[in-house]
Amino acid sequence: MELMQWFFMGVLFTLSVFALAYLSMVVKLEWYTWAGLITGVIMVLFGIGWAGASFLEGYPQSGSLGLAIFSGGGVVLMTLTWRHLVTPALSRHAK
């Protein structure tokens, strides 16, 4: 199970790197936009790692909270960054 967790995190990490590299090709973003997106990815991965370890050690409460706080926080951060910083940049780029 633990190996599966690390494998899954590796896949997510690789996809994230590809996605961010692709984004850098299509639009020029400010440094704080990149900071928001990268921090979000790290938080999502951290939350998954935390939750996996917590479930394995027999503490589902810790796993659930870890997912909610760390991964959930990461998703919220990425969503806000995307909506308020990436989307306007994409619109400007399209014009």
């Binding site: 790197v17 590299a21 692709y22 090709m25 370890a53 917590s54 394995l56 503490y59 589902p60 870890g66």
Partner: protein, 504 residues
């Protein structure tokens, strides 16, 4: 350069579903020379490489952090208050000695008067394990009692059960040096000697091992032979002049100690006492086999926590126990006094644990006898002398370890609860924020602890129970423990290798 538009064109057709377009798809060589693709993969490589480098750097920093920083300030001593510690003033010695009880009736009288309790100090120790079980009450059943007694049994068979109450010179911890080899093994270097000692400790099953200089400040002086009511002198009675103290840590089982203060928890407490008796005896025998005099000790001879700190194994916690990174306070400490001094000594280290304890106090909240100071108490309970209730009453603290800057708890109230409970407690171990299983996220918290500011310490202390850890007095944990043996036939996770659940 001239063919680039064609390549761009072919690149655009890649995503189409037109079968005819397949003929126009670029080959591998064309793809590699496509500047857009090259740039994309360059960025993937740079981004991924940067992330991996950052991750590796963070991992390395965490490993360094877990080594701890050398601590120059330990111990902080108030010379006006500090004096050598008479073993007779240690609660466990006092409650195990009829003679001492007869000599100091005022101590019992004062405790009864101040705490408003009719409490029999001496018979409490005797009656502790004879309290009747209740098979309807998880943690206090016949099975839990049996585990408790089985845990202590090897130490009893080895003749050293009394060493837990500080009786010196017992079976496993004998002072006898008659098996000392005449020829002394010569080590190539001090480091080789230290490595050899620690390798042997690993074989014997210790979870950690450190080496400290013998320090008279931590030795009980005078020593006291409870069984024969005799004062013992380091100079006249001890078989040699010790130069070095080797400290071995034995881990207790995580799931078992989590059941505290139920009798179940005493199963792993007793077992670790037995294990530390065996390991320390083996280490002493190993040293004597190399021609160096050695005497092993459990709780007897000296202050185990202080020696553990001096050997660089951990810091002192609010619960007055040694808190070792990775296992927290879930350890028992054995010592080996030896005249071998050609070794590389360890030194005290700082992981920010004592600082964390100043903001935490979960052990104090969990303590059934309110024996541990709370962060809200005067100076957070941290100082050169006790500040707990009645500590200003003359004679109440028995001048035990006054003058060293640390947390002071009321050991008499702690012991009182053991007797009422019918077995040891361990709630301060189970509730400790540093008492965690061996998983990466707990190591991560441990690694960032030294650089975390005070307010974050408080937040982490609150997050610990919120995430489901550290709850005590919970019958569900007893039920969970008694199922933790599932899968032990094959033991694919190597459960309990170092006393933690599921993972070695």
């Amino acid at each position: 350069m001239s063919d680039e538009p064609d390549k761009a064109k072919s690149s655009e057709t890649q995503g189409t579903s037109n079968p005819e377009a397949a003929d126009t798809l670029p080959g591998p060589e064309e793809l590699l020379t496509d500047p857009t693709r090259r740039r994309f993969f360059q960025r993937v490589a740079i981004g991924g490489g940067a992330a991996l480098t950052g991750g590796a750097a963070a991992y390395a920093a965490a490993r360094i952090s877990l080594q701890g920083l050398p601590e120059q300030d330990y111990p902080q001593i108030d010379e006006k208050l500090f004096k050598p510690k008479d073993q007779r003033d240690v609660v466990l010695t006092f409650v195990s000695s009829k003679t001492l009880n007869e000599k100091h009736p005022e101590r019992n009288e004062q405790y009864k008067r101040l705490q408003k309790k009719a409490f029999d100090w001496l018979n409490g120790m005797r009656d502790m394990y004879s309290k009747p079980w209740d098979n309807r009450k998880p943690g206090y059943t016949q099975m839990d009692r049996a585990l408790q007694k089985a845990g202590w049994h090897p130490l009893e068979v080895g003749g050293s059960r009394a060493s837990a109450n500080l009786q010196p010179n017992t079976g496993l911890h004998s002072w006898d040096q008659s098996d000392l080899e005449k020829e002394q093994y010569e080590f190539e270097s001090k480091k080789a000697a230290s490595d050899a000692i620690k390798s042997a400790a690993r074989v014997f099953g210790s979870v950690k091992c450190g080496i400290a200089r013998r320090d008279k400040r931590w030795d009980y002086d005078p020593l006291y032979d409870l069984e024969n009511d005799r004062e013992l002198s380091w100079e006249k009675d001890f078989p040699f002049e010790p130069k070095t103290v080797i400290v071995l840590l034995t881990a207790q089982d995580y799931d078992c100690i989590s059941t505290a203060p139920a009798w179940t928890a005493d199963g792993t407490v007793g077992d670790s006492y037995s294990q530390m008796g065996v390991k320390a005896d083996q280490m002493a025998k190993f040293l004597r086999g190399m021609g160096y005099q050695a005497v092993s000790a459990g709780n007897d001879l000296g202050n185990s926590v202080a020696y553990g700190i001096m050997a660089g194994l951990g810091e002192a916690g609010r619960n007055n126990q040694l808190i070792a990174p990775g296992v927290g306070p879930r350890v028992r400490i054995a010592k080996i006094y030896t005249d071998l001094d050609f070794v590389e000594y360890d030194q005290p280290h700082n992981w920010g644990i004592t600082d964390f304890c100043l903001s935490c106090g979960k052990c104090a909240e969990a303590c059934p006898s309110n024996a541990i100071p709370l962060p809200e108490d005067k100076d957070g309970g941290y100082g050169f002398e006790p500040t707990y209730e009645f500590s200003d009453e003359p004679g109440y603290t028995w001048n035990n370890q006054l003058g060293i800057r640390k947390f002071y708890s009321d050991a008499k109230k702690c012991y009182n609860f053991w007797v009422e409970n019918g077995g040891g407690c361990g709630a301060c171990i189970a509730s400790c924020t540093f008492n965690e299983p061996d998983y990466w996220h707990h190591w991560f918290i441990m690694a960032i602890n030294p650089i975390a500011p005070g307010f974050l310490h408080g937040l982490m202390a609150e997050a610990h129970p919120a995430f489901g850890y550290g709850h005590t007095n919970d019958p569900k944990k007893v039920i969970k423990f008694w199922k933790s043996g599932e899968g032990m036939r094959t033991n694919l996770d190597l459960k309990n290798n170092i006393g933690t659940s599921n993972k070695s």
